[in-house]
Symmetry: C2
Amino acid sequence: MTEHLVVVGGDAAGMSAASQARRRRGRDELRITAFEQGDFTSYSACGIPYWVGGQVADRDALIARTPAEHREHGIDVRLRTRVTEIDPDRRRVRTRSLDDGTEAWTGFDQLVVATGAEPLRPPLPGFDAPGVHGVQTLDDGAALLATLERDVHRAVVVGGGYIGVEMAEAMVQRGLAVTMVHRSAEPMATLDPDMGRLVRVAMEGMSITVVPGAEAEEVLLDAAGRPRAVRTSAGEFPADVVLLGLGVRPRTALARAAGLPLGGSGGLLTDPSMRVEGADGIWAGGDCVEVLDLVSGVRRHIALGTHANKHGLVIGTNIGGGRAVFPGVVGTAVSKVCALEIARTGLRERDAAEAGIGFDTAVIESTSRAGYYPGAAPMTVKMLAEQRTGRLLGLQIVGREGAAKRVDIGAVALTAGMTVDQVVSLDLGYAPPFSPVWDPVQVAARKLVSNREGPAPKSQRA
Amino acid sequence: MTEHLVVVGGDAAGMSAASQARRRRGRDELRITAFEQGDFTSYSACGIPYWVGGQVADRDALIARTPAEHREHGIDVRLRTRVTEIDPDRRRVRTRSLDDGTEAWTGFDQLVVATGAEPLRPPLPGFDAPGVHGVQTLDDGAALLATLERDVHRAVVVGGGYIGVEMAEAMVQRGLAVTMVHRSAEPMATLDPDMGRLVRVAMEGMSITVVPGAEAEEVLLDAAGRPRAVRTSAGEFPADVVLLGLGVRPRTALARAAGLPLGGSGGLLTDPSMRVEGADGIWAGGDCVEVLDLVSGVRRHIALGTHANKHGLVIGTNIGGGRAVFPGVVGTAVSKVCALEIARTGLRERDAAEAGIGFDTAVIESTSRAGYYPGAAPMTVKMLAEQRTGRLLGLQIVGREGAAKRVDIGAVALTAGMTVDQVVSLDLGYAPPFSPVWDPVQVAARKLVSNREGPAPKSQRA
């Protein structure tokens, strides 16, 4: 008997799951239908800031696989079709065509819920006006580009997280005067404030106005109903275009209505095979689920394409008759603002304190290459370790070229549960064009080890 | 009572040990004397190719700490003083001044043997002529630079390992026509031949003539006694200057004469605290010791400044009353030839076969950034895994900017004993300017996992 796999959501998690299931089970075994409310499949939402900024010239470059390509692989993609109800008991979903409103029920044996996330848009005056843009979908990007064709000179970015800083870069690339307003004391609140301060200082050096501690209150509109300024608790800032970088939340209204289990963040709860808890044959992945933080043991919502792709691979493997698990994350993220690279993994001071873990920290300055080698660029590295055991807890890096991807050393070490002593001993790649003789990550680990030991002990021998 | 620490050899391992011991124990507790036969201390031998190539203008930039700086820290550095005998029983070393021939005995409580390595110079006609250069010491570099001041146009590099390729780059930088002759089928024999081939093709694209399977036989000299050609088993190659890149061996004649234990490579044997086996209060580190390969369990000789520095830190900590160990290496090395980056860690096919480990391999092509992001550079990644368990065994990368340091992911995963399934799940840094959504290392791991599974199983459900 042919099984029917229905996928809700045609981007990273959903289509990776469909593609992987198809690789493992032929068309005679598995029929696959994917419903997508938009016009595109399998695109890189993470690439939108670079398309808007002009580094990527062509929207289509962001599309990894078109609906037509999926269809060639035997995946029946239905665009502009919204799933409006999931009926787990009768194993069916209800859909509505966005073109003609037609409704229909479609039965499934296996279901993948990959409904993604939706940008937070504050319910404040003016935030739904034209000229106020999120950048979650390709359509959002196209709308923003249309705005930038107009006579716009001043951009205000609301929110100082990674979407905020990437959009600030895009606006700088487009030649606009950029102001970034955000709530916290420093931008990039996924870093500790001492590291976020380095981001702010660097952004100010790029002539970006950074306004901390600013709660957005209203987008003030001109006579044509387009932005003229953003009013915040820290003052009013002129704006011809407003960018939303306030983060996202899991898009799970559909799952909630179907009685599927949600966690504290509103994301779907799954087991490590990415099966929705308690729901046989129903799987979920991508920006609509919670993931296990392997360092703190807490479930969190982290919307990142890299996780979505892994979820899809795991789901597709399991539907395809194999066995795969997604063990969890360590909270790795890398980003940049123009030439400034920003990276983090593991716990911040705040996270460790909230988890009740006593910790030590070290902050060091080093360079991307041997100090004498041309192009050696400075970087600041912060490391956290558990006080009691010396276990690595977190790593944050702010620097220039060659800084961000060093966070992978910490990501792997965190996954393995290494101590900072073990990080000091790691056999990392060294040659003068690539690293100082002690990699900056190990310089930070050395400092932590040395801080942990305290002042040198008096010799026993003397 | 004040102890006396004597250090034999004033470069990375010896002076790191001395400095770390000093950090932990004051001058009233520990007297430190360091004997160095040359004129310099604590310099980056790894940087010499870039000084010769002209990227580093100044020799002094390669010196991390001068003798005067060490003396300020209470380390009595004796330059141009060769240790000619170690007497472990009477706890003393004999020295000879290279200036006036004076001999003397110096007693020690603790001894650090850090005599380094010596370049292999084949006992063949012409190889000791002026114009034939090794690049082990700063004096070697200065001598080579003096040769390059002459009317030289054609360089022959003998040896295709990392010193060979780095010297080939230096000669290209200096505008010479470069031929590299080497014994093996492909250059960079620390890679598998299929990956070495990529290095050869790239070097040929840089107009470097690469001659494989060539055994050097003689340096043919002109009337003035300087090189005019190198004769090899694969023909004769004109040369105004000859560079030796045949590798090094541990400089342990002194240790051997003292009856200290040596391994199969001729390197000193130590325990994980870097204490010479069976020799209380005698320590050894750097290019004169063998290290444990954590992947194969075999002891090997690997001359690398990064290991030497770690050995020194461990020795100095232990002498200073702390406790530290050097657990071993996984065989990580990174290098480059002009824009080509080369990296390896763990076992090659040959190593795994010799260790009797059944293995699977995967080779993939990917890019340093998202494919659509400007500057995305191609790279080839090869991965080896143990057939029975899926345990990661090795990783090799050849590519352009952004390729080499990705090997650190493999180095940490090897140290942790991860399987390729675990590598696929790693939470590595992703953003379009830094990586495709699957890091190239994970693309290789995915291929291995998929190869290991074989053809997709027929579904159990159908």
